[in-house]
Subunit: 404 residues, 2 copies
């Protein structure tokens, strides 16, 4: 590994999306990330999507570039070894990411008796430590009720586990910030963050709490419209659906120009007595604008107007299914330097993303496959825990650890 | 500021969600974050939601705890001053976050002639540098086509700008990782990340690329079901809608137990010849499971079963609107240590979130209001650019800078 975090070692005890994503993000920047799991694999070891042979594409996706050790956590010796691996010496080690929340031997208080400068980042469900998942946090804070067609009473949950993805990246931030603090002060610490608090804070960050508390407005469903300015989906003559954005002045002017609707928009402005150069006015009068633009899209084909849109600085996109996006878009192929076709043992060869970062001083890490469960058990026991070969062999014999 | 990043100085040239969120995240961890804007404010200065007086709740939400300088970027002296502020000396300064992509005087090559160890993080639209926003990236990669009621042909866009929120947090990670590298090597660098690449990579991370490329499956809409295991929304006797999760063994057993559906589930298992203890089997047969559970929810009220669900370890949530969430949930009040009721000048007093992180060695920063545009112009010119009072006065007189 040659990445920007080369030399850093992070231990991960995790399952599901957020913390595995955090560890993977660090691994893809060059850190040595060790994920430990119980002998039969963690809760996400067989998580869907799976191949026809039952191999988890989810595990493969979220554990790329890590090392894996499989170990019996119910056995006292297993617990000792995990403690030793988490608290192994080295100025760039002693960094632990988890969402497992095991009290006693694996909490910050106990672990830091073994390494007082340990940095431990824990993702909680809610701030009380109760379980919460993306699928429950999202309805609790209100997004599904504001999602979907205008006027519908049915809530629509998001499909991207967005809170997990955000919280996972925040866990990386928390770890790097605490490690920076340790470098300056020598002091380790416990960093906690709750999935629900991440969502609650974002509601405030985006102005939604103010909208309720100050304006007394409970945002309704607005279909696929871009909130607060102009952006709308249209069906075209060829049956394609496109999303078209008129958020900035340039985008808006470009959209009016290419669709040749300047006269109709000017007439609407005169009728309303307002300038649609103001983004808030575009939002308030979006239905009228859409009524002007929709016939144009219904009469035109993407193949005909796409290039003109690009040229005029209109920001737009097709709606595509996942398969169509992969099939048509070179950004999902090795034409994009973040992607490479690699072989994932047990699954086969398919396009795999590395880190989306380009660090000019560190170069790009090519994507690495995910480990098989226990693939690095032996080398981790030797290199990190510092055990002699005979002892490692005994651990295998006694079934306290296993390999791939 | 007493936060974990105390002493760090970051300069931000930005608009909209991702980079303002990145700067705010750093400010809420104690960094001195200076946002510069043109004299009339950036593209997001009046972004909706706005108050009845036209004050932006969006600006207030995403710029909390920063300092603001308003400056004429078309004037050569304005450009010089911004360069001086970005490249000001100090081992913990020289950190620049941007999505403005100004070529020439504000690109990494030019700025680093003034401070060779500058760390500059740039968020692009796509990897070619073309504009892209959350609202176009999302349909391009496929999520709206997979969102919404089963069988519907209409795409549903998410309302949370999830890609912006993820990319903003990744920008923080990129900055901290590059600053760590600089501390060890003395070397600055340019860090680039594209919004669309963030989304494309996540499609791979979550196993969706593998699902298409290896399994040949283009995931259809699955309503509000939790993908890959069991989780479903139900309407209850009191008209409430709840999301109920049976992802882990414990959640699933708890759900069957409290709803007293053990016999019916066992009969279903016998009929299918499969164990629903397997999460993949629960996913495949989710419609049958839902048919067993739905009558129970339709006959019971949340007030009656909520406590039993909690006791049995079932993970569940109500669906609520934004306003109802704020009204009912103490997690949005100062009962939650991340929130405080604070006065935002020009807007008034309302509940505002600070950082969702709890750093044990640094304490919690109370949330701070967002600056007014240009509120810190004078002090930044004095403290950071090091200008004498007479020169600062001339800059105000000549209209090259302005205050709040």
């Amino acid at each position: 590994m040659m990445g920007v975090l080369k030399g850093m070692r992070v231990v991960e005890g995790s399952a599901f999306v957020a913390i595995p994503l955090a560890g993977m993000t660090l691994a893809q920047m060059g850190a040595d990330v060790i994920r430990f799991d119980r002998l039969e694999g963690g809760l996400d070891h067989h998580r869907w999507p799976v191949t026809k042979d039952g191999q988890s594409l989810f595990w493969a996706g979220l554990n790329k570039g890590k090392r894996s050790i499989a170990i019996d956590m119910k056995h006292p010796r297993g617990r000792e070894l995990i403690t030793q691996i988490i608290c192994a010496p080295g100025p760039d080690a002693g960094l632990f990411l988890t969402n497992l929340r095991v009290r006693g031997w694996m909490d910050h208080e106990t672990l830091s008796t073994h390494r007082p400068d340990l940095v431990m980042v824990t993702l909680l469900g809610d701030r009380h430590g109760r379980p919460a998942v993306d699928y429950t946090v999202n309805p609790a804070v209100g997004f599904p009720d504001a999602t979907g067609p205008e006027g519908s009473a049915d809530p629509v949950a998001h499909v991207l586990p967005a809170w997990d993805c955000i919280a996972g990246n925040m866990a990386v931030t928390g770890l790097l910030a605490a490690e920076r603090h340790r470098l300056r002060t020598g002091q380790g610490q416990s960093v906690e963050i709750a999935l629900k608090d991440v969502a609650a804070a974002m509601l405030g960050n985006l102005g939604i709490i103010g909208e309720v508390a100050v304006n007394g407005v409970d945002r309704p469903k607005n279909g696929n419209a871009l909130y607060g300015a102009y952006g709308q989906d249209f069906v075209c003559a060829d049956g394609e659906r496109v999303m078209v954005i008129g958020l900035t002045d340039r985008q808006w002017r470009g959209l009016v120009e290419v669709t040749n609707t300047g006269a109709a928009i000017a007439a609407l402005e005169a009728e309303l007595g307002t300038s649609l150069a103001d983004e808030g006015a575009r939002w308030l009068h979006r239905a009228r604008i859409t009524a002007i633009l929709a016939p144009w899209f219904a009469a035109n084909r993407v193949a005909e107007f796409g290039a003109a849109f690009d040229k005029a600085g209109v920001t737009w996109s097709l709606f595509r299914s996942f398969a169509r996006a992969l099939d048509e878009d070179p950004d999902f192929s090795s034409a994009n330097p973040i992607f490479a076709q690699i072989d994932q043992p047990g699954i086969g060869s398919y396009p795999v993303p590395g880190s989306p970062f380009a660090f000019s001083a560190a170069g790009r890490e090519p994507p690495a496959p995910a480990p098989l469960l226990g693939q690095h058990t032996e080398e981790i026991l030797a290199d990190v825990a510092g055990l002699p070969g005979g002892e490692i062999a005994r651990l295998f014999d006694e079934g306290i650890v296993r390999g791939a």
